[in-house]
Assembly symmetry: C2
Homo-oligomer: 449 residues x 2
């Protein structure tokens, strides 16, 4: 094929995963002796996608830790030299470069609203600029997927949701790192072996239609699979769903040694089929056998089934969640907000940003319900509420005492989402009435920079 | 963080990037001594997304070559053992497994319609099943992105299109391998350094707003950048686009040694701003300076600008292309179509597939215009047209004589798209009238299996 066959991107290559202009701008700063001037960049979004009422910030700690390790190895420097855009002196500087700044992030699994930073970088401008493209790519993926998954988990209430979507996701990294975002959002399991093993989410799996089709008939396939896997899940819709359920019942009556823990519906009208399947199973004395539904489900389909009390015990979700089909992108921006201790802002139409380093304060009432946020300058004092941004990297080094364990993201989401007003967690399109204000000082600054 | 910090997925780990049920089904086949039964699986889509009139098949040769190398190394076997779902005997078999079958694909960059295979695998059923999840993930990504990018390139006509979307794409693999798909679709360049270097697409880059904001004023920033980079592109919209253009003109008049090859508009009404900027530049004698537009563009925005003859010389596209926002997923299926030399098909409502191994024949008239396709059984003879599927992997080994070089994909797209009727290449939502028929034999078989 005359092309590299490897699909892998090594951690060592990540410094080159950037937009060319970052490197040309940094070389320009370096030539102008501006590269060491202190700066702050802020990662935020200006507006929510129409189908989202909050973004679940995810991946920003993971990204911060990665960015603190970033460097250009000899192979990367050689590749840059081959582009004939960079001076040898600059490349020598780049070869010795390590990130020396601070990175502030909100904890993974924090629901955020427009103009609230997910992450801020305080560093010499060349260093902060160097991180832009990669930090946006990394945080985008996990936040897009976690935001979608959180809605699906919310819709399902206390019924488990399992990820079946690996095949639909955008490539290898999305499939593997996506499981990390799903775990934060509260999924119960995944079919994705590598993703589940790497990010410690339970592995789930049933069977595919091809297994049924490879056998002479459905009963033979069920018998063979149930013999190999006690308490397995059988897929019943290959030919006719209710006939499939009857085949399961007949098998369990004929061969009492076999056991089945669940059946999976993968097509048709889930509400009706689940009710009819439940009745068949209950009438036959198999009320312990659970019903799992999968295929084409998203938060709206799940909410409908839950509202009609469909007897479905767990949901498998794939396509819609795997690409966050209704909002595959967040309008993330990474903007210079402070340069040489002076606040900066961009004034392009529709692309304004708030100047200066920031902190977000989240207030709650005595019952623990969130009542509103204030976006303030980072050094303001006496703002009510819990500050959300913390310095997870200091002077280029990860601070393990500040960085919250990834495992905590899951419980954070489960704990915090119910404390927001219903207008934040509502699934239909629309805006929440959750108050997010600017501090007086930030308001004043924004009108003057 | 108590979690692995690496973001990379090594080629050696890819065998584990699968859905758990593939492995449990294969173990079942193995226990039933069915694993060596010959089978054929077909990768196709049942329907087009509403906003697509064809899918540009991309990544299937790349995937075939990868799949032919797949194996479970000792670390992978150990991880599977840790799940306590697999017998030692089976894991020994898996450790020694290598793909031994054939893989047929259409050439990269082939426009396809529903039910036409992108790829077929002839192999013992356990082997073909083992490839399912990974082949779908790999081909999905490149075909989704190439299909979107082809529309954008088509809309731009002879004006170059450059990829600026790395930061919006779904993770590392999407960003890097996406450039391969963009190249096939005909993009002229990319800002993505690692993607461009790996997949041999020209690197392009301009400057960001932060560079302007880091300087005392726009003219200082322009002067500094133009001094470092002769014939560069300057971003003119940070404060006021037309004022920015005037700053460029003033600079070039004041300092004749400096040169600028283009200006970039990144916000506002591109049609109007481009006309006004063009007039300013032309009046000042700088008609050689080109105008590049970027920000929020997709094929529809570009087609509008082209239709109104906006004096824009090149387009930079990011978000909409990077996630294929209007169609982030293709409804790909990988289905068992033949087992033990017998055709198979699934009958679930809305999920039917055509039985048997297939070939697609594409007919053209004497002027080279495509006139229609026939989907046939693979062993049929006397079907008119060019057969699209070729065996790129035989007995587990890539056949370099059959596999077309990746570079050819670009010229294939450029050559073939104009030969389809306008209803195939039209950008608005709707269906083409391009005829795709089943052969009589396949029609008959479909009604009887």
């Amino acid at each position: 094929m005359n092309e590299p066959l490897t699909l892998s991107v090594a951690d060592e290559e990540l410094a080159l995963l950037t937009d060319l202009y970052q490197l040309t701008m940094i070389q320009a700063y370096w030539k102008e002796a501006m590269h060491d001037t202190p700066a702050t960049f802020s990662l935020f979004f200006r507006q929510l996608p129409p189908s989202r009422r909050f973004i679940l910030a995810c991946g920003q700690q993971h990204a911060a830790a990665t960015l603190s390790q970033l460097h250009f190895n000899a192979a990367a420097i050689e590749k840059l030299a081959s582009t004939e855009r960079f001076d040898d002196d600059f490349l020598s500087w780049l070869a010795n470069w390590r990130f020396s700044g601070d990175i502030w992030t909100v904890p993974e699994g924090t629901p955020l609203f427009p103009h609230q930073p997910l992450l801020e970088v305080d560093a010499p401008i060349a260093e902060a600029q160097l991180l832009e493209s990669l930090v946006m790519n990394l945080v985008q993926l996990e936040s897009v997927l976690a935001s979608k998954a959180a809605r699906i988990v919310w819709a399902a209430g206390n019924r488990p949701v399992v990820d079946f979507g690996m095949r639909r996701m955008h490539g290898i990294d999305a499939a593997v790192r996506g499981v990390r975002a799903y775990k934060a959002a509260g999924l119960s399991g995944t079919s994705n072996v590598l993703g589940g093993l790497r990010h410690d989410l339970a592995l789930n799996g049933t069977m595919a239609h091809s297994y049924i089709l490879a056998h002479d008939d459905e009963p033979s396939a069920f018998r063979a699979f149930a013999r190999h896997y006690p308490n397995t899940t059988l897929l019943v819709d290959t030919y006719d769903t209710l006939q499939g359920v009857r085949h399961v019942i007949d098998m369990l009556r004929d061969i009492p040694d076999l056991s089945v823990s669940a059946i999976r519906l993968d097509s048709g009208d889930f509400g009706q089929l689940a009710s009819e399947a439940r009745a068949l199973l209950d009438d036959a004395g198999f009320s312990r056998i659970k019903i799992i539904a999968s295929s084409g489900l998203d938060e709206h389909g799940i909410a409908d089934l839950v509202a009609q009390n469909a007897p479905i015990d767990a949901f498998g979700v794939g396509t819609q969640m795997g690409v966050s089909a209704d909002a595959p992108v967040i309008d993330l921006s990474y903007k210079l907000v402070e340069y040489d201790a002076q606040p900066r802002a961009k004034h392009s139409p529709g692309k304004i940003n708030l100047p200066s380093r920031k902190q977000v304060y989240r207030r709650q009432d005595t019952a623990g319900r969130y009542t509103g946020d204030t976006i303030a300058q980072r050094d303001e004092t006496d703002i009510a509420g819990e500050p959300l941004l913390r310095p997870v990297v200091k002077n280029g080094v990860v601070d393990p005492d500040v960085m919250s364990p990834a495992q905590q993201a899951t419980s954070r989401v489960a704990d915090t989402l119910p404390r927001f007003p219903a207008s934040v967690t509502a699934l239909e399109q629309g805006e929440s009435d959750y108050p997010v204000e600017l501090s007086d000082a930030l308001k004043h600054l924004s009108s003057t920079v």
